[in-house]
Amino acid sequence: MRPRTWLLLFLALVVAALAGLALGPVSLSPGAVWGALFGNGDANAIAIVQTLRLPRIALGVVIGAGLGVSGAALQATLRNPLAEPYLLGVSGGAAVGAVTAVALHFTSLAVLPIAAFIGAALAVTLVLFVARAAGARGDPRVLLMGGVVVGAFANAAVMVLLAGAPSETVRGALWWMMGSLSDATWQGTRWIAAYVLVGGVLLIALGREIELLALGEDPAAALGVDVERATRRVYLAASLLAAVTVAGAGLVGFVGLVVPAIVRAMGARSVRSVMLGAAIAGGALVVAADVLARTVRAPAELPLGAVTALIGVPFFLSRLRRIT
């Protein structure tokens, strides 16, 4: 990708972040935002910017980056431009893990991602097993069907878990099913960012293997990749990323689908540059979607996952036409 394109991606992220700081139930002028960032001006504006909107934007950037990298890695490894953690049921599995942990009163964002990761890893294993049992792991459609089925199963599992739960737990869990950045705190965002960094670095380190896996298993093996081991590592790291985003912001679908495609269309060639570009673009997309979620029907807030789905579904359909 040319330097100018990278600059464009960064610019999109900055614009989204600035909009996130200025827009909301209370609109702030650019001057007021600028002042509040450095602790000057109206006390209300300072509180809104520093304790509400800034951590929210930071969480959005981190979540979007995790979803973007995870989607880019899964698409290349599964050789499927429609692969992404939400559609593959991986996020659903993570939600089951997270809700289980919450039901057991483990709510710290240090621990929650681990519970979500266990759920996600089980889900990805199940999806691959279903696809293999159908005898067509390479067929994108079978894989997605497996993902949808496992996702539906995960939803059902969450509902069952919730059936005797106190009402505030139910509310919390529903929040998970729909995705939101509204509970963002600096403390939690730091944990989420640390986990996303770990998963992201793992996947970038696997970049050369992922590049070859995108050619197919036999070519990858011919060129020197231990296919089984590399694939397992990619799934684990991508599941970790997806799980962390679920623990931090619930089910935010389609970001991992849309963002790598945009970055590729902008000229990213190597898998590593697609992953890095998807991290930046993913952050921008989630922050922008969150701005929409907060402003379209203000003062009411739309679920973030609903906004990304409204963006992602038409995109998915246009891609589906191309591969079938």
Binding site: A205, A214, L215, D218, A221, G224, D226, R264, R269
Partner: protein
């Protein structure tokens, strides 16, 4: 250089082995061809070379080293292999595609070295793809695509070159160009192991031919020893004659019309 010794290969849960006791070798400086009807086990042998299927019995060695004991990286540095089918999930620049052949020579974070660049340029030139390095893989014709894949195998740099039906879907000129290239590469000292359905071309270019039938070796020897009408008729289960090409003097297989329609 590559040697199969009494190799038995069986797919998981298959009642019978796909390859049953095959012994053959592909020395440096020659083209060794593996031919045989569909399902006779040709591609299974290639899968075993890729480490995707472990021999139930027997051994596969590269210069005396058992392939099962080599890491994939080690094996890839010695054997450059062009699989039968390949379709990149996402379009690639031809040059980037050839550069992937250098994977086994780099580390996790290492970029392209001067050695890599030289190997890529040399491979592209040898395979005759230097003019379309900046094109994207989906824009290539069938012949160009096969040559680009051979270029990647050359960039990989192993002394052994294994190709699984490299001329499928190619017209006469492109097919000949590939065989001429393989011939030149063998003369330079590489061991070329070639799986092919083109018996007549194989008979002209290969030093030795291994004829597989239902997973077993029906014959292994010089083209004149293997290109025998009675033998091929039995293996391919089709009436045919083997004659001699008046232009080039090589044995030629001519399949006959079925008895019923004659």
């Amino acid at each position: 250089m590559i040697r199969f010794d009494g190799v038995v290969l069986r797919y998981p849960r298959a009642p019978r082995p796909a390859v049953d006791g095959v012994t053959l070798d592909a020395p440096r400086g020659a083209i060794t061809a593996i031919v045989g009807p569909n399902g006779s086990g040709k591609s299974t042998l290639v899968r075993a070379l890729l480490g995707r299927l472990a021999p139930e019995r027997g051994s596969i060695t590269v210069d005396g080293d058992n392939i099962a004991a080599l890491t994939r990286l080690d094996a890839a540095r010695r054997i450059s292999l062009v699989p039968q089918r390949e379709e990149p999930a996402f379009p690639l620049m031809v040059r980037d595609f050839i550069a992937l052949g250098r994977y086994a020579h780099g580390g996790v974070w290492s970029g392209e070295t001067a050695v890599d660049r030289a190997a890529i340029a040399n491979a592209a030139q040898r395979a005759g793809v230097g003019e379309f390095l900046e094109r994207r893989t989906p824009e290539l014709s069938g012949g160009e695509w096969q040559r680009v894949r051979i270029a990647r195998a050359l960039a990989q740099g192993g002394d052994a070159l294994v190709l699984d039906e490299p001329t499928a879907f190619l017209d006469v000129a492109h097919e000949m160009a590939v065989f001429e290239l393989l011939d030149a590469l063998a003369r330079e000292g590489r061991a070329v192991l070639l799986v092919s359905h083109q018996l007549n071309l194989v008979a002209r270019f290969a030093t030795r031919i291994a004829l597989l039938h239902a997973g077993a070796l029906a014959a292994f020897g010089a083209p004149d020893d293997v290109m025998r009408g009675d033998l091929l008729e039995r293996v391919y289960e089709w009436p045919l004659v083997v004659t001699r090409d008046p232009a080039v003097g090589a044995p030629v297989l001519v399949p006959l019309r079925n008895r019923a329609s004659r």
